[in-house]
Symmetry: C2
């Protein structure tokens, strides 16, 4: 594993690391914030999955999460959103291919060779983190933004016991029924509707739910609200009596200005679960 | 004036605006954060001047200042660092020309035509702000990073009564004696050493000082420390008994990870002066 950079940050270290990935068959880069407490031993970790067009870097530099993670003694991990490289399949659209992995294991060509983001984020990268850094695999939580909110919600529901809490900022909630989902699932997964259902937060909520607290924030002025469909997830959650806080924040849009505005709430929410 | 974007942010609005500038003879873009309190009437304003290679956008998205400004009821203004455009003189080096205005009025060709950043930041943009937004010209403070720290310190000392407080993150402190200064002053100002002295924080500290509180943070692992020369400013400040807090922060470098780590301290420092 190669250290790209390490910067002192809120008493801890914001690092960027690159490694060859077995899951994706290419080099992968991720950001990791370790608070000062990590010098003494493993600390709880909050995963942050990013949205369309993002790399590991966007949230790391724009979400303002480190301040709050440092206060709470949490690590933050910022994975990339897709495989990368000249020999990795891509598409001219911003919402397919590189930067748009949708946190699934692709089964269709030309995507299947490298687009194994589910395995990367839920299996390989966790192993790498716990093997190389002072993060506590027994205390993990997950959040994300937009496509990353979709990833966070689906990972939390499909891996019972893995994450103590889940939250999301303006998540894609019902991709099977949205143009942010149908197009990508068709490309990556073909017409296998069972596979689609395993990556649809609303369908997973109907079928499984999440055994822990859930927090979801979306802005009332989100320009992509029709694509996100938080109303579908909310309906499913309430119907199954899921423990959840679902908020529509007045005036906010889809940007990192929204994410950063509520980051303290989300980090504190996860800290409460992680330190319980 | 054209509104480029307005995003809800920590209960207020983060806007980006573009206008034709008389001072620089080209369109200029700036960021302005207005807290919720600005709906009720003019609020105090903290200027943030950015460093080499930056536009209005870097600090606006990476410094995490809005959270603290919102808590304190302060506006934040993020000017650009130079004139911009295809017909504006430039240089291949990152530290001269576009992105590197050094907050001076250039007197030499080819720079003089557009590089009038001193007038832009200290005269034209203040007029535009108070004419168009709920900012209180009687309550202003100023900060900045690197080249912008140089701009903040020199503006504060050369405009007595304008700013109630001044701070800086890893500022260029003695440009007359540094390769971050001599090259640019020679290009923009020629060999007029009196003009250089009016833009050198250490020389201004020796000659004038600042009538108010001053806070300066620099990282012990700043990779540009030899170019910044904070020791020269510190010596001048202490010699003249200047009210000041000058800190070397252990382990931090020159990046926005450093700036964001101490932004709360700086905003709170200015708020104390602005609300006094």
């Amino acid at each position: 594993m190669e250290t790209i950079s390490e910067n002192a940050c809120f008493g801890g270290v914001q690092g960027v690391y690159r490694h060859a990935s077995d899951a994706t068959g290419c080099d992968m880069t991720f950001g990791l914030f370790l608070p000062a407490e990590a010098k003494e031993g493993p600390v709880p970790v909050l995963w942050y999955l990013s949205g369309l067009t993002c790399t590991h870097e966007n949230a790391m530099t724009k979400a303002g999460a480190q301040a709050h993670a440092a206060e709470q003694g949490l690590a933050l991990v910022f994975p990339d959103t897709s495989p990368r490289g000249d020999d990795v399949a891509n598409d001219d659209a911003f919402d397919l291919g590189q930067g748009a992995g949708f946190y699934v294991n692709a089964t269709r060509d030309p995507w299947a060779k490298h687009y194994q983001m589910w395995d990367y984020v839920t299996e390989e990268l966790p192993r790498i983190l716990t093997a190389n850094f002072a993060v506590d695999e027994e205390r993990q939580a997950i959040t994300g933004h937009s496509m990353g909110g979709h990833g966070a919600l689906t990972a939390a529901m499909r891996l019972p016991g893995r994450f103590r809490s889940v939250s999301a900022f303006s998540p894609i909630c019902h991709p099977s029924r949205s143009d942010w989902g149908r197009k990508q699932f068709t490309a990556y997964l073909g017409e296998d509707r069972d596979a689609w259902a395993r990556h649809d937060a609303t369908l997973l909520m109907e079928a499984e739910g999440f055994d822990g607290p859930m927090l979801i924030d979306t802005g009332t002025k989100d320009q992509f609200l029709d694509l996100l469909m938080p109303e579908a997830l909310a309906a499913a959650a309430l119907k199954r009596r899921q423990q959840a806080t679902i908020r529509m924040q007045p005036g906010y849009d889809h940007s990192y200005f929204f994410v950063s505005s509520f980051m303290a709430d989300h980090v504190d929410f996860h800290a409460e679960a992680l330190w319980a």
